[in-house]
Amino acid sequence: MPINTASLVIGLSYASLLFLVSVGLSVVFGLMRFVNLATGSLYLIGGYVAWSVARKSNSFLLALIAGAAAALVLGILIERGFLQRLHRQELLQVALTLGIAYIVQDVTRWIWGGDPLRLRPPAVFRGSMELFGSVVPTYRVALIGIGAVLAIAVWYLLERTKWGAYVRAGVDDLEMVQCLGINARRIFAVVFALGALLCGLGGALGTPVTGVAPGTDIQLQLMALIVVVLGGLGSVAGAIVASIVVALVDTMVRTFWPEASFFAVWALAAFVLIVRPQGLLGRTGW
């Protein structure tokens, strides 16, 4: 097995991006059985806006903020404008969010063109560094750090705060939460918005490594779905673990049998679904 420091760094940095895209999807899914197939679009818009802002302002930090903010705005528009009307109507949710994904892809192609765009990492993280005897890209290492910090922050918010208890209780039993005087729709709206923000941040952070182009959205969307299925609905810890597993499997297989990498990830998801339908760390099945 070609496991070495370099492929670990590449895999884990990819895991950071996958976590950012999938955690919102997972919690929103767990909370209201809500399928958002425009998750990849939020990543895409985050990446494109970050690219433009970075070119204009020359500030990577500003680009990150702008990318996250753009996805937040798009997320709120989707939630306020459409999804609020489609509670409990899964088929319509799938059709609608898929339609939104196509529209976003066309509009972004119209604005930014069809060629892949890449952002240069910020000056401090450019080039490479030595880690455990291997030479690895500095920005990839930074991504791992950023992903870890954000994962801990999201975990803390959901597992250790009162607001997080509302969300967890909502994933368990939404009706009962409402009977205790809590406005479930407001919780859902906030979770959806936060998830969109993280997607956009992921898109912005990912632009230096994955680049951004028409199709990036679909690729990330599919990977995020696998992460959610694998980790278990509504579980932050599950999203963390599954992001790492999916990213590492994808990276490892890619290095010794590139054509099979996508197949390997789906085969893994299928296997977990057969053995453990509720996902690695999920509590309830489908």
């Binding site: 209780a169 205790l180 509590r283």
Partner: protein, 238 residues
């Protein structure tokens, strides 16, 4: 305090409730009795705003509740102790207890502080840090009652609190409900366990096929063997 007038309701086509009328006065405990499937739980769900279709009048202190979402109905002073307890498995005992905690209304007579709740249910303090569903069935029933009290209700809807509990725990639930009633809270209690119900309630309503077919003071129900056998399918040994 709480009044239902001619309430019809159901989940899809057709009605489960076919004209329910009942009153719960302030500080009164009212029993909603009847067989499985008679419409007790559906009545509770109608009051709580959980039924997709409701027609008729449901009023709390004169204010209509029909059409309001459950969280608003809760904030007006009604809360549900649900059938099957429905403790949140991802939450600790303390998180379960405090999830819906709120300040009492200014004009509210019966109020609950966390300290009073812990005095009433010491086990919830001792075992606060473990997951709620790791409690025993009886302890979970205590937790779901306590959790509802923390929302500072004016009326407590209590759906089959004895279900699935050992006899000694059923008795304990009865004592708790009696204490809550003595504190002055209004209670609507749906029960199949007639002994438990009679130890708590003042007035009984008997439901059959979504209608109230009899109501009166509990003494009358106790004296009426026919009623007990025909509609409740059981009898109280006096």
């Amino acid at each position: 305090m709480l009044e239902l007038r001619d309430v019809y309701g159901g989940y899809g086509e057709g009605f489960v409730l076919n004209g329910i009328s009942l009153r719960v006065e302030e500080g009164q405990a009212v029993g909603l009795l009847g067989r499985n499937g008679a419409g007790k739980t559906t009545t509770m769900r109608a009051i709580m705003g959980l039924l997709p279709r409701v027609a008729g009048d449901i009023r709390l202190r004169g204010e209509s509740l029909v059409g309001l979402p459950p969280h608003v109905i809760c904030s007006k002073g009604i809360t549900l102790v649900p059938q099957g307890r429905r403790i949140f498995p991802s939450l600790t005992v303390t998180e379960n207890l405090l999830l819906g905690a709120r300040q009492p209304r200014p004009d509210q007579r019966v109020r609950w502080t966390v300290d009073e709740i812990y005095e009433l249910f010491p086990i919830l303090k001792e075992r606060g840090k473990i997951r709620g569903t790791l409690l025993s069935g009886g302890e979970q029933q205590m937790l779901t009652i306590a959790r509802s009290l923390m929302t500072q209700p004016l009326v407590l809807l209590c759906d089959e609190p004895s279900e699935g509990l050992a006899p000694v725990m059923v008795q304990r639930v009865g004592e708790i409900l009696q204490r809550i009633k003595r504190a002055g809270l209004s209670i609507l209690l749906a029960e199949q366990n007639l002994d438990l119900a009679l130890s708590v309630i003042d007035v009984a309503y008997i439901v059959e096929e979504g209608r109230i077919i009899w109501h009166g003071p509990k003494e009358e129900l106790l004296a009426n063997r026919d009623l007990q056998e025909t509609y409740l399918g059981l009898r109280v040994e006096v």
